[in-house]
Amino acid sequence: MDLPLPEILSAGHLYALTGAVLVGLGLYAFITLRHPLRQLLAVNVVGAGIFLILGSLGRGPEATDPLPQALVITGIVVAVALTAFGAAIIVRLAETRAAAKPADDDNARPEP
């Protein structure tokens, strides 16, 4: 089924705009969310948005620019590396804090 949609904007621009909104959403979440793990997630969303802008603006009528694609792949790998490190810091910090003060069991919930 392909509806005769007016070509108001090219696919490239559509995804680029989506990327822009993702950046905004992620940024808002980063500011308003207090928990570092959630902030880490937000940062990943921002990153995804940036990659989307980068890639989709290289979307030509016939082909998609390979350079932005390569840059995006590099970016994704760098992002995962940093995410792993960030997650590790968050966990270790929580552990040291828990070790510092005797853990009270009432706020420890069972795994769902």
Partner: protein, 488 residues
């Protein structure tokens, strides 16, 4: 063989070697320090037009490495600083007592920082700079984490945000101009919405990394808590890469896009940093916190120089002042952190009031601290003086008396808080202590501080070095390349 790739490839090789050698890796620095110093020297002595395209792939696709004056000076200083700090770390274990993981991972991280910093100083490619920026941030955060996890997490999050802002800017530039090479952008950049937004985003991100007031919040806790060698590397090198990239953007790639107003903003922030950082440093009770806040102040001078460089008829003086300030701060601040580390080991506590009697107990270390202080205060003879002297001359010649005033006041404030620490060392010992046997570990801070002083005598040579292939000197130094027609 060219030092342009070796200064990056060799430290990467040391990363590999360090990981393979495990605990035995600490000895590698005995090889790395002289080797890298040699390479850096070789680089500094290359003919002025030294540059090459990695893999011989032409712009706009490939990556251009270029040894301009800034790169040469920064890489040389980096080699000296990391070399000295590394040798110091041999005698003064950087890790917390009994912390085997830190003891072992310290070394690969240092080499990673080394490679990342050198790569960043050399490349003119904005995306390549992103990767190096992340390399340096990663190592820096890990080093900071050896002191305080909480501070490191804060540092990590802020740095991540900065990187993303920078990356978004780069993304827009790629899409807009189909190139990320500064030398090409210098020829094609136009002040349209996309470009200005991109420049703004990149600048904001880098200012966070460079910890310019008011984006400095993460720095003092991280730098004050980390072990002395780590603090030295963080303050000396990690914050400098952001600054160098900003120089590339503002004075080369987008020199025609940035307006005088925006330059004044940068200068204003710099001035604010000088004053705020100094006042905060005065209010600190703990020695390392004082030194960390002095970094906030010293970074301010780098950006205070922006309008002076842009406003000068012959920017040579201001440019040299800016560059030498960066170099002098690297040497002096590294020396000061190492000395502070030794002093705190010997002192009763980590407060300035606890330093009493150190002037007798460890004169050489206190001397190192004092010499570093002289350079940071900008008193002659020292690299710090040469830098601030050049900046002050430029400011007065341009009638920028506000900046001149800040430069002078900043020096005085620095004197206030640094002499406060020094005179505490002259006070009688709060607890009786025997002279600390110095030996090898006192040599490095003394050497670094000595270099900061010696810089004051080599002024002319350094100024000439800093001017090599400077953007204001050789406009359109880039190889003429036809870009695929970008958007109108």
């Amino acid at each position: 063989m060219s030092p342009l790739d070796l200064v990056v490839a060799v430290p990467l090789g040391f990363v590999v070697a360090a990981l393979m050698l495990g605990r035995a890796a600490r000895g590698l620095i005995l090889l790395a320090a002289p080797l890298m110093a040699g390479l850096a020297l070789w680089l500094a002595l290359l003919p002025p037009d030294a540059a090459f395209l990695v893999g011989q792939w032409d712009l706009p696709l490939g990556i251009l490495l270029r040894a301009d004056g800034v790169a040469r000076l920064m890489i040389l200083a980096t080699a000296l600083v990391i070399g000295a700090v590394g040798l110091h770390a041999l005698a003064e274990p950087p890790e917390k007592p009994g912390h085997a993981a830190q003891a072992e991972t310290f070394w690969p991280l240092v080499y990673l920082l080394w490679a990342g910093a050198n790569a960043g100083f050399l490349t003119t490619d904005l995306f390549n700079l992103y990767v190096t920026l992340e390399m340096v941030s990663l190592a820096a955060v890990a080093l900071a984490a050896m002191g305080s996890l909480a501070a490191a997490l804060r540092y990590f999050m802020i740095a991540l945000l900065g990187s993303l802002a920078y990356l978004l800017g780069v993304a827009l530039i790629v899409a807009r101009y189909n190139t990320v090479d500064v030398t090409l952008l210098a020829q094609v950049a136009e002040p349209d919405l996309a470009t200005l937004l991109a420049l703004g985003l990149m600048t904001a991100g880098l200012l966070i990394k460079a910890a310019l007031f008011p984006m400095h919040g993460w720095l003092p806790p991280a730098h004050a808590a980390a072990p002395a060698p780590a603090s030295a590397l963080l303050s000396a090198i990690a914050v400098k890469l952001g600054f160098v990239i900003l120089v590339r953007l503002w004075f080369e790639g987008f020199a025609d896009v940035t307006g005088p107003a925006s330059l004044q903003v940068m200068g204003g922030l710099g001035a604010g940093a000088v004053l705020y950082g100094s006042v905060q440093a005065m209010r600190q009770q703990r020695l390392k916190a004082l030194v960390a806040y002095s970094t906030v102040a010293q970074v301010g001078y780098l950006f205070l120089a922006f309008p002076l460089v842009a406003g000068a008829i012959d920017p040579g003086d201001a440019w040299a002042g800016m560059t030498l300030q960066a170099v002098a701060h690297m040497l002096a601040k590294a020396a000061m952190f190492l000395a502070a580390g030794l002093m705190l080991k010997a002192a009763a506590g980590d407060r300035i009031a606890d330093l009493g009697g150190l002037a007798q107990a460890m004169p050489l270390t206190v001397t190192a601290f004092g010499l570093a202080a002289v350079s940071l205060m900008g008193l002659p003879p020292s690299g710090g003086f040469t830098a601030k002297f050049l900046l002050l001359t430029a400011a007065i010649e341009q009638g920028a008396f506000l900046y001149a005033g800040v430069l002078i006041l900043g020096g005085l404030l620095a004197a206030v808080y640094l002499f406060r620490a020094l005179s505490a060392c002259f006070a009688p010992a709060t607890t009786p202590r025997a002279p600390v046997t110095g030996g090898f570990r006192t040599a490095e801070p003394l050497a670094l501080a000595g270099l900061a002083i010696v810089m004051g005598f080599a002024g002319t040579a350094l100024v000439e070095l800093s001017a090599i292939a400077a953007p204001w000197d050789a406009p359109a130094a880039a190889p003429a390349v036809t870009l695929p027609e970008a958007a109108p």
